[in-house]
Structure formats: structure tokens, C-alpha cells
Symmetry: C2
Amino acid sequence: MRLAEARVAIEGVNLEIDGGRFAAKVVAGREVAVQADIFCDGHDSIDAAVLHRPRGAEDWTEVRMEFLVNDRWQARVTFAENAFHELTFIAWRDLYTTWRKEVAKKLAAGQKIDLELEEGRRLLQSVETAGPEDRALVDRILAEDGADQEAGARFARMSSPEAVAAMKRCAPRTNLTCYRILPVFADREAAAFSAWYEMMPRSQSDDPERHGTFDDVIRKLPYVRDLGFDVLYFTPIHPIGRVNRKGRNNSLTPAPDDPGSPYAIGSEEGGHDAIHPELGDFESFGRLVEAAHAHGLEIALDFAIQCAPDHPWIREHPEWFDWRPDGTIKFAENPPKKYEDIVNVHFYRGALPELWYALRDVVLFWVEKGVKIFRVDNPHTKPFPFWEWMIGEVQSQHPDVIFLAEAFTRPKVMKRLAKVGYGQSYSYFTWRNTKAELIDYLTELTTEDCRHYMRPNFFANTPDINPVYLQHSGRPGFRVRLALAATLGGNYGLYNGYEICEATPVPGKEEYFNSEKYQLRAWDFDQPGHIQDDIRLMNHIRRTHPAMRDFTRLRFYDAHNDSVLAYGKSTEDKQDFLLFHVNLDPHAARTFEFEVPLWEFGLPDDASVEVEDLLNGNRFTWHGKWQWLELDPQTRPYAVWRLYAPGMPR
Amino acid sequence: MRLAEARVAIEGVNLEIDGGRFAAKVVAGREVAVQADIFCDGHDSIDAAVLHRPRGAEDWTEVRMEFLVNDRWQARVTFAENAFHELTFIAWRDLYTTWRKEVAKKLAAGQKIDLELEEGRRLLQSVETAGPEDRALVDRILAEDGADQEAGARFARMSSPEAVAAMKRCAPRTNLTCYRILPVFADREAAAFSAWYEMMPRSQSDDPERHGTFDDVIRKLPYVRDLGFDVLYFTPIHPIGRVNRKGRNNSLTPAPDDPGSPYAIGSEEGGHDAIHPELGDFESFGRLVEAAHAHGLEIALDFAIQCAPDHPWIREHPEWFDWRPDGTIKFAENPPKKYEDIVNVHFYRGALPELWYALRDVVLFWVEKGVKIFRVDNPHTKPFPFWEWMIGEVQSQHPDVIFLAEAFTRPKVMKRLAKVGYGQSYSYFTWRNTKAELIDYLTELTTEDCRHYMRPNFFANTPDINPVYLQHSGRPGFRVRLALAATLGGNYGLYNGYEICEATPVPGKEEYFNSEKYQLRAWDFDQPGHIQDDIRLMNHIRRTHPAMRDFTRLRFYDAHNDSVLAYGKSTEDKQDFLLFHVNLDPHAARTFEFEVPLWEFGLPDDASVEVEDLLNGNRFTWHGKWQWLELDPQTRPYAVWRLYAPGMPR
């Protein structure tokens, strides 16, 4: 008869991922709406609360829920601590409210309620534990009540707002029902809201003939910070293999001084826990990390598990690799493509568990060096259970560590990686260019279940992806894709060169010509045509507008042009309300009618709102719901408006 | 490191209800598509199977799955036995298929594959257990293979269809991953597909002055059977209370000979396990059950838990009831409405567990008397845990027992009752009249998750519901709602009087005037204007067309008229394909263009199909996708077509 204990039905929990198999993700300190369907048999009133606590804590924090509609209940909950948490629900029958509502109806219908008043007295008498104020109030009501008094007055006393509130707090919880415990992980905010800038440290000497060093990078920090970024992300900084090293443009015939791909990790100089000697050493790396923090920047490292053929692990741990019948190790390939400069570990057979421990320890090693963000290369080609275990291990000790999954793969695989613990995920944004594509994809990301566990990072380009759109769009397209990435994404990223609209491809491919992956480069980011102003503006808007912090608070609006995307972001209270228009066509001006979302402020279609143009600071008034705008890719490919409803502080 | 064992991701199971908390429902002996998202890290090939067994059995039945699209896998599974079952999934990496595909690509790219062929040999050698034929085949391939042979020929031998099929069967299952066990209940088909006819036995004497008996009902069986129904359902047949008995039209002033509501159960003559003496006794009830079975009809009884004030339980078990401060029991009410002739039991405090046992035993008592279907009155006002426990107890002994939930209440409550075990559910069909309402509601029922646990029973009317639509529609509307109920619903029902278009309301209410609930009635179902022919036709189509048996196999089609609903039902192989047109407007003829769903047969828009008019047997040909039709409510309010694609047997 254990079943009998669960009289109140609790189901449809919004933060329950795969039946509680995986943790939902929230942001520590940021209020989240926790919802569930809660109902009981019959027509009696019920009440419900969310319980939550950091994992391992004894006491629960209780947050009373409120009824929304159609048996849906909600509580606004803040998980304060950056940690794993537990979440559950309790619900119970609220006999006093049931009594009060029934008696009110009978009184209104002119029915006799003497017996009901006596029943009300008994409910008040049933209070066993209460704070002193509630206790005093309940006792006073009972003392003042008398069977000789007028029924309506007696009921009014028993059903006063104070009495009802006290009974909500202290009445027995009849048929108390508990839900099962669900896992929640509260990340620090950078997991959900961050602007990334990607560079290769070796290309920071400003001299294509000289290998850059960590000290060169330190000199670039003011530039990156001035652009407004939060995270500075480096491709791998480890020793690079010499065996089968790749030459410029991925050739198999490297020149003697070609540096090789930093993704071919490991040589006799060390592996994943070593620093490529030409970059510097742990001392200069430590200085770099400190200098970055002093500039308000975090360093993110690349975690790429593959090994160059001369990685020390191959000699030390042959059981971690796939050996072929001829005694060689299979190099990485995606037939017929070959990656001769790397071999992959395997994760099972002889590699389990020692390799798992070793990889976890590599991450912990860099955490000790001050790195708290890891962009993980190709995680979809390594086992999900490894990630779930490894990320769990690391975050149990260091909940502030964030992992970004660089997985451009099938949708369910990408989502699974997010479920097993990745705090950020590469996304399809990079290839979503049309209005319909962007609306469909963003609607999925911001409204479907995945919003509770997957946080996309909208990279506009990467060293591996020189998007076709940008190859043909010229400077206007770079401004467009920047604006989209920065304002649609909670997290977004640019790979250096973006600010000067670099887009020279390997012909016919989405790859960069003379890619930094295979050679040193020197960059001049101040050359004519750079878009540093746009980047600075976008990052400024992101930093100064709370509406930007939760990327799921996105709404699309009507703009009568197939190339114009219109959308808004706002805080819950609408005090910070931004409206965006982006002309997706980098080649032609578009003039269009658009709707001003007056209804979001509860205003009629003929109302007026004050508007601030965040690009130039102008302020004016829109009268009425429909307005006209032109966006010319050469001058203004996008617009950002702040709307002030009547009565709002300016 | 337990996690490591689950290398293959298995999720998104279509038959998983609330994370496995509740059983999915299937029909014993009817094939069902079991689906899950299954994928692994990397690009290796995988394979998967469904495992299932009756609960308590030791051995699993394995059904190999096939890949559909986007990481979705499916198996067609038949749960043969009417019983509780267990369902799970296994998946593994298929190294031989991975090997075969990689080598084929290398061969096509002209690469050397000697090493790969040796790896293939090792995979063949890894077979440990195999049937004699597979063993012989694998041994022969290895024996015939030689390093001196031409590589392409060697690969062809190793990758022959026979070799691949054998390896699918007997190769080791690498990284075998098991899902958790999910519950499934396989009902007999009547739970999902049945036509109900409801009557009050006491009104079957054909004389309003004489109380009907079970023998009177026996005389009606040929009529009910001739109409084509499967289930004959009676309102309660128990002794009726005398205290606070209701008079005609729900009055509080009954005449001495008024029979009272059969829902006021219990008097000094007995309670839920007794028979109202004027109806007969257990002997005549037994004869009735047998005679019904002989006619191919099943008897369904009403299970209404409330008690008349003179029910024996009140004296015998005062602890099962709510006593008020004045020593009375609260009668049922929904303030300000009062139901003076009944009191409700409560299910907790003193009533737990003895009342639960007693109620279960009432059901088992009637099961012993040959009743296997129970329509349960107002289940939503009794605790969900009671139903879950009680239905589980009954079906563990008698899996062929079916419970229909008479719960006209909020959507999530209705769904929860289905989840906790009800095999059929009353639905909102009774109030869904317009084209948009019907499409929305049927789309929800047939495509959303609830299709795996909730089976609506589309009652067109009930003793409690005289729908407004029928009050104003006249005979054409009765034909329309019959056609909709019978062809949209897997289960549907009519309450007697429907066949003569009875719709006299209590003014302003959805109730019948002179309702049988409070008085005896005599019916003449052969009076002019009856629609017995329509009922007979609908039930004939249901019985003879396999397309009708799974109500979720519904598709809506275009018909260019807001009052015309067009839809189809078909078997998976399209051999039985029915197209329906219903004019929802009972007052005006509608002429409209409609689409012939040629694409369902893979035919182009200008193709022809042969058509049979199932109302009159005419056969002809439709040429092209768009056709015209007129439906006149007075003559033909609906049409039913059988479509034959070219090459199908006629």
C-alpha cells in the first residue's frame, strides 16, 4: 500500500531530463521558473512547494509554488551556489482553503452554515505546530468565535486574509506527497553568458617569421579586452609531434621549419600536460593567466584527446591504443580522408580505467594552473560515459569548470553531450543564414526541452570553418553575422581575423587558405575596413543590458520582408526591452514595415513608445504598432532599439 | 565505473510513459512499432534489439531493430499475451559492419587493404558462439581466404550478403548496452476497439408501468446484436436506497412508486454485491450474461462507488465515511448543488486499507459472475493511488478485465487516470463539433504521447449528456455524430434512444427530460425516423475493415469547405484504405472540392484510383487528385469510400 502515500499527482516537471537520468542546468544566483503539473482527485484545494538543496546538504530550502493554469504550478527558485543540487516537489491537500471556498459558496447561496462553522473551528484546532504569531492568531480567532454570533460575521473572521495566510503556513499538510529527487547543476554565469575570442598564441608575434610566445599574447590582452570579450580561447599549447607532421595548407610535405598542427599533440618534449617550448613555459603561462584575469579575461584551453605518433603515451601506455596486425597504430581517418599526424586512443579494453584517470588528471592539472574553461575537440568521437564520468569528477571538486563541446555532428548526439555534462555546445548557428532557418533553429533552442540542458555557443567562424556565407558577403555580412551571434546567443565566439573580414577560402571548401593550423601568421587588425566598432558595440550591449543574459528570453516579431529578422529580448519585468532588426541580405538594402510589440507592455495598437537607437543614441517616439525602416548593408545592416513603455524610468 | 557499461546511448523511447513510472498500453496480438533513439560515439556502425517478456517470465524474446532516420530505430513487436509485460532495449557496436563499410570505401578509393583484410579475418575468428550453419559459413570463408589472392575477391567473399547476415547473428556484441526495464500492459483488443450500447435494464419491459427484468433484457439482445454492437452496458443494477430517494426529473419529492436513481446504491436489500430485486436475481443475471455471450455480446457493468444513505456499509463500516460534528454523514455536493441521495466514502484514515480491499473484492465478485468490463462512475473524485492499486490487483489475476473511466474533467486528470490503469477513457469528443475542434482534438489523441496510454471511448450521448448539438440538429445531426463517433473512435458508444434521435432536454441544460435516471421508460426504437440502418452500416464497416481497428492510424485530408471533415484510415500496407467525408452542418447541403490522397499509394496527382461507395456499393473511378462532392444532410450527410490503388485485389 506504499502507493497510497502518493495521493497528489506530480508530473510534467520542466527541469526533469529523461526522467531524472540527467541533471537540468541552471545558472547559480539566477532565478529560474520551476514548473510541474500538480493535481489531486476531486475538487479540493491543494498546495505545493519546491524543495531544493546543494547535493550533500541535509536541509531543504522550501519555496511555495503558485497555480498558473490547467493544473500547472510554478515556483521561482534561485539555486544560489555554483554546485550540484537536488530538487524535488511536495504537495498536499489544503483542507482549510477547501472549507473556506465551499462555505463561501453556501453563504452566497443563502444556505445554513452552522455545521460548516463548527467544522472550520475543528480545522483551526487541528493546528499542531506554528510560529508564535500564527499560534496567537489562531487562538484569538477561536476565542472570539461563538455559536451565538451571526454566521456571516463568524465566517468573515475565520476567512480573513490574515487567518488564511496563517493557515497556509501552519495547517497540517494532509496527504503530503513527495516527488522523487531530481539532479540539477547550477553553473556559474559564464557557462550561459560569455563572449569568446579565439586565437593561436603562436601567431601573436606580429612577425610571420617569429613563433609567438605567451608574452606576445600578454601584449594583446588590452586589445581583446577593449573589444569587450570575456573569454580568450587558445588552440592547443602543447608540444607538437614531428612524425607525419603536416605542412602548410594541410600538405604531407612539410618544410623543415613548418610548425605543424597544434592538434597533433605530443612529442618527446611532452604531451597533454606539457607546454610547447617555443610558446614559453609554466612560468610565462602563469603570468599570462594572471594578466588575463587582471584584464577581466578568462583563459580557455583546448582539450584535444588525440596524440601525435610521437606522444609519450604511446610508448608508456601501448594498451591505450589500437594496434594493427602489422604492429602499427591506426592513424585517424574518416575514409577515404586520412589524418596521418594523429592517432586516437581507445577508451575500453586495456585503456579502462587508467586512461580515464589520466585524462581527468590532465584537466585537473590545467585547472590547478588557473584554467577553468575547456573547449573540447571532437567530443562526439569519444564515449559519452567517459564524458559523464570525467565532467562529474572534475565538477565535484571544481564546479566552476566549464566544458564546451566542439561537436558539429547529428542533433541527438549534440544534445546527448549536453546532457552528460557539457556546459556549452557548438551549434548549427554557423550554417543557419536565412530568416526561416534562424527562426526555426532558435525556436527549437529556446523553447524545446533542450533549453534546460543545452547552451549553444554561437561561433560565427572557427579555424576549421570559413562559412560560405562570409566568403561571399563582404564586410556587411561580417557585421550581420556578428550581430546575430552576439544578440541571439547567450554565448558567442569569434575566431581572430573576423574583425578584418578575413574569408579567403581553400577553393571550394569551408576552410581558410593559409590556415594558422599549419603555419604562423601575422595579423593587422587595424587595417581599413575592420569592424572593431561593431564588436565593441555588441559586447557593450551584452554587458550593460540584463535582457541579454538569458538567451531563451527571445521573441520573434513580424517584419514584412523575407530578408529581415526582427526579434526582441527583455527582462521579465520589461524594464530592459531591446528590439533588433537585422538585414540578412549583405548585398541589397531592404525597406520594410515592422511591428512594434506594444502588446508586450500591455499597450493598445495605437499607443506610443519612446525609443532609443542604441547605435547612435538618438531618442524619439514611435506612434502606433506599424513602423517603417530601411536597412542598407553598406551603412546600417542592423538596428538595435531600446523601448521604454510609458511610465518607465529613462 | 558502472557508467562505462552504457557506451551506446538509448533514449527517447516511444513506449516510455513518465520515465517508466507507468505502463504503456498495447493490444495483445497486434503488432506495434517500438522506437527509440539509439546512437554511439564516433562513426562506427551499431545494431540494436528490443527485448520483451511477460512479467514473471524468465526468458526474453529478442526482436532486432532497424534504423529509420536521424538516429531513430524501430522494431515491430507483437506482445502475444494479454498480460503485463516487460520491455527493454539492447544495443552494441557492430565491428564487422564498421569494418566492411570502411574497407569498401578504401577499395573504392584505390587504397591498399591488405592489413584491413587481415583485420577482417580476425573479426571472423572472434566468433565464439554460433549456430551450426553460421559456424560452417564463417569457417568456410576463413578456409577459402588466402593472402595470395586478389584483394577485391577476398573482400567480396568476406562481405557477401550471407557473410554479413551470419555475422549480424553471431558476431560478438561489443560494448553491449542495456536499457532499463519498462512496463507495458497488453490488453485484449476490446479495450482498444469496441462499440458500446448503453441501456437501463429496468426500462426494457416495453411498459412504463412495469419494472424491467434481466429476462426483458435477454429479449432485447437480438436487437442490440443486429445493430452490430460488441458491448452492452448497464447502469447500476444494485438495490436502490430509499432514504432521500429522488423523484422524476431529479425532484426531492418522489412519488411512492418512483424507482429512484440507480446511482443511489444500497439499501437494506444489499449494496454493491447485490442485485436490485425487481431486476431479478443471480440466477437470471447469469442467464443474461450467458445469453449475451451466445449473441457475441459482452456485458459491461457500472462501478459507482457512492452509497445511498441506507447502504449496509454505513452501518457496518462507519469508519469509511465522513461524519460531521452533528453525527450525520455529509452527502455529496458540488456547492451550491446537492446530491442528497448519496454519500461518498473516503479512502484514507479509517478506510485504508479495508475499504480498498472491499472495493477490489466487489469488482472480483462481478468478474466471477462473468463481467469483464466495468464503466467506472466519476473516477476522478477518487484517489489515483486507489485506482492504480485496484486495477493492478484485478488485472494481475484477470488481465482481460477492462475499466472505462467516466471522467469528464480536466485534461491532465483524464490522462492520469489512463496512466494509472484505465483501459478506456471518456473523452471530450462529445463536445467537439466543428471541423477545427475535431482536427485539433483527434490530432492530440492520435499523435501525442497520450496515444500510448489513453484510449478514448467516443460516446455520442449518455444518460447524463444530451449534447446541445443534438438538441438542435434533428435526425441529420444524429447521423453525423454517429458517423464521427464510429469512424474516428477506436471505441465508441451510444446510449439508447439515440437510434430514434431522442433529444428532449431539461430546458437550458444538457440533460434529458424525463430521464431514465429517475423513472421507468418504455422505448419504441422502430418508430419512423430511426437511424438503425446507419448504426448497422457503421458497425459493419468497423467489423469488416481492418483499417478501423487502430484509431491512431488517422489522417486528415483537405476538403475545401469549413463544414466538411475529410479523413482516412488505412492498414499499414494500404490494402484496406477508407476515405470519409462528413458534413458537420446538419442544416445545409455542402458542395466542395476534396483531395484524393493519391500520394498515400505513391501515385502522382494525375493518377486514377478505383473507388467503392460503401453506402450503396457503387464502384467507379476517380481521375486525378481533385474531385467534387455534395453532401446533403437530409439525404447523405456523410460518405465512406474504399480506395483501391492500381494493382490491388478488388
